[in-house]
């Protein structure tokens, strides 16, 4: 890893994030709760507390945002059929579990069709991945014991859609654990899972909106056990030495904190399964906001079910310590500082860019400026398309320069980083390349963007 440090602006010598791009296979989970329980039976909570004091502070900044869309009913309704992206979840037996729009019960026939398609192909020992009809993609993700389906008119690729479905699957697992989910269906194939998932629809809705509007989902960028976040930005995280969190799990945590009003008024204690970490069991989280005068959210995750008070005290100590070190002020200050636009950072020729440092799995983007302030989704779509061009399985590209009537985009995949830059449509390639050179230099020098790397 250290050999790449020079090439990648913003890189750290050691990463605490799992940096794999793969979204598949629970088999390759990074850890085992049993193992942690055994090796740390005695000092789990102290450990996480100790870590706070002396080691491994890493900082990242990601701005996450989401928009809510109106819910709609009625299946023959024009509005329902014209939605950009539908998402459905059903059991292997075809029982409705979730529909992004409209009531699942009224769509029973549709779930029946989906289940039939899946089992028809399975009959030949094959697995249905997608169907394409005009601009509409039907993407299937068959993950026992569930079937997830996306029907999309967006330009997103099959890979991108199925990774979103994977997030939805993980969200469900995160509420129940995979072990329990499997057990339920082993015992009763016809089980109505909605019983156990009441309230989770909200989280899934939010997660899908989130994954549509947030670049870090596309980039697979972001990582553990004491996590401090605010306004959807990770401030710091502290972990036990051996264990890492996958960005996909962190996104679930962001999603949970962002969509749970109840955390704001009290200390909470909640079970949480992080499917990429270990899908078989729960971690238990102490969730609280630091203080009245600092609205950062602190999560302390442990494997013990009944150590609420231990962690509650740990939290008090952490807050005192941060307060003595004037850290609360520093956090508030940086929360109040807005990211700079490209123009503000001295690159008026750039409209916007995404920079992902591979070794840390972190990314940076400047504040969105016109002409995209009102068409954020358009910008995200451009990035998704470019990302797909670089990572397409059949013909991956290293460098893409594409000009359209509205803008020009340059996408570049290197060993150490990925960069996506959006320009004015009329820019010529020579100036584009020289601008990118100076942008990378600026990032390398630490620019404002990465000024908060290590404190």
């Amino acid at each position: 890893m250290s050999s790449t440090v020079e090439v990648e602006p913003g890189a750290a010598s050691e990463s605490i994030l799992v940096t794999t791009e793969s979204f598949e296979n629970f088999e390759q989970m990074s850890s085992s709760l049993e193992e942690i329980k055994n090796t740390n039976a005695i000092s789990q909570s102290e450990e996480s507390n100790d870590n706070t004091h002396n080691e491994h502070f890493e900082e990242t900044s990601n701005s996450l945002e989401s928009c809510n869309e109106d819910d709609n009913d009625l299946e023959h309704n024009k509005e329902w059929t014209s939605k950009r992206k539908h998402v459905f979840v059903l059991s292997s037996a075809g029982k409705p579990i979730y529909s992004r729009y409209g009531n699942e019960d009224r769509l029973a026939w549709l779930f029946g069709v989906m289940q039939t398609l899946v089992s028809f192909v399975q009959y030949d020992d094959d697995c249905i991945k997608s169907i394409h009809a005009g601009d509409t993609h039907f993407v299937f993700l068959v993950k026992k014991p569930l079937i997830l389906v996306a029907v999309s008119k967006t330009q997103e690729s099959v890979f991108q859609l199925s990774s979103q479905l994977n997030y939805v699957f993980n969200q469900i697992t995160s509420m129940l654990t995979l072990t329990r989910l499997n057990k339920i269906y082993e015992q009763r194939q016809n089980y109505d899972l909605r019983r156990l998932l009441s309230g989770v629809e909200r989280l899934i809705d939010h997660l899908i909106d989130f994954s549509e509007t947030e670049p870090s989902f596309t980039l697979g960028a972001n990582l553990v056990f004491a996590i401090l976040l605010a306004n959807n930005k990770l401030i710091t995280l502290v972990r036990m030495k051996k264990y890492c969190l996958h960005p996909a799990d962190l996104h679930l945590i962001f999603n949970l904190v962002q969509s749970s009003e109840s955390f704001k008024n009290s200390e909470s204690w909640t079970p949480l399964c992080l499917p990429r970490f270990d899908p078989s069991g729960f971690l238990y989280g102490h969730v609280s906001y630091l203080s009245e005068d600092c609205q950062a959210c602190l999560l302390l995750l442990t494997v013990e079910r009944d150590v609420f008070f231990t962690l509650s005290e740990a939290k008090q100590r952490i807050v005192e310590k941060l307060r003595r070190g004037n850290c609360l002020e520093a956090i508030n200050e940086s929360l109040n500082t807005k990211d700079e636009t490209c123009n503000g950072a001295g690159f008026p020729e750039l409209r916007h860019y995404l920079y992902k440092c591979k070794s840390t799995a972190q990314f940076y983007q400047p504040k969105i400026s016109p002409p995209y302030t009102l068409t954020r989704q358009h910008l995200i779509d451009i990035y998704k398309r470019a990302h797909q061009r670089l990572h397409c399985n059949t013909r991956p590209l290293k460098l893409v320069f594409e000009r359209s009537p509205k803008e020009a985009i340059l996408a570049w995949d290197t060993k150490g980083f990925e960069l996506y830059v959006v320009f004015e449509p009329l820019i010529d390639t020579t100036s584009a390349i020289s601008l990118i050179g100076s942008l990378l230099n600026w990032i390398k020098k630490g620019g404002k963007a990465f000024g908060n790397e290590v404190k």
């Binding site: 749970s260 009003e261 109840s262 955390f263 909470s268 079970p271 079910r305």
Partner: protein
């Protein structure tokens, strides 16, 4: 004035009941005097809050666990049952199912909680008017059957909310002083007396 303050009087009180019966709302009304109108805030896991109440010059610091009603959180809530000194068990008077589930809740309580735990049954949303689906007498009858205290409450109007918590605090304080056996204080009688006295909600808002 703090001469009678006892640091050891910090009882754990748990709020239980189906999802959506108003556990968090009751607590918000009691603790902050607020009612969250029309906003459904779903509790995730268990929330912890404290509030100090005075019982005859003794300060009792209630440590209140507000639990999520959904079935999938039962394993976490069970872990905290055994430390609870008092349980406020809620149903929604406009939702018959939540009332029917009370027997199952009492079964769980018997299984996981301490034998001497103080239990109070609360029929919430008593301000509902014509939407009512559970009559007051039905609540009373069930409470009598299980020998637990009962009252109807409204987080919206504030009716009996303070009383529910204070009654529990009072009972726990008397037990602490070892006066439980000689029947000097009985939470059920107290509740009966107090609810009759204040038919109109206390003007705390």
């Amino acid at each position: 004035m703090t001469s009678s303050y006892r640091p050891n009087l910090m009882p754990n009180v748990m709020l239980l009941g189906d999802s959506g019966v108003g556990k968090t709302c009751i607590l918000m009304r009691f603790r902050d005097g607020l009612f969250l109108c029309g906003n459904f805030i779903s509790t995730v896991g268990v929330d912890f809050r404290t509030k100090v109440v005075s019982v005859d010059n003794t300060k009792v610091k209630l440590q209140i666990w507000d639990t999520a009603g959904q079935e999938r959180f039962r394993s976490v809530t069970h872990a905290y049952y055994r430390d609870a000194h008092a349980l406020l068990l809620l149903y929604d008077v406009t939702n018959k199912t939540s009332f029917d589930n009370i027997r199952a809740w009492l079964g769980e309580i018997r299984e996981y909680a301490q034998d001497d735990v103080v239990i109070m049954l609360l029929g919430n949303k008593a301000d509902c008017g014509s939407e009512r689906a559970v009559r007051r007498e039905e609540g009373e009858r069930l409470a009598r059957e299980y020998n637990v205290a009962f009252m109807e409450t409204s987080a919206k109007s504030g009716q009996n909310v303070e009383l529910a918590f204070v009654a529990v605090a009072r009972e726990l304080k008397f037990r602490q002083n070892g006066q439980q056996d000689c029947n000097k204080f009985n939470v059920q009688d107290y509740v009966r007396e107090q609810t009759q006295k204040s038919q109109c909600p206390p003007c705390t808002t």
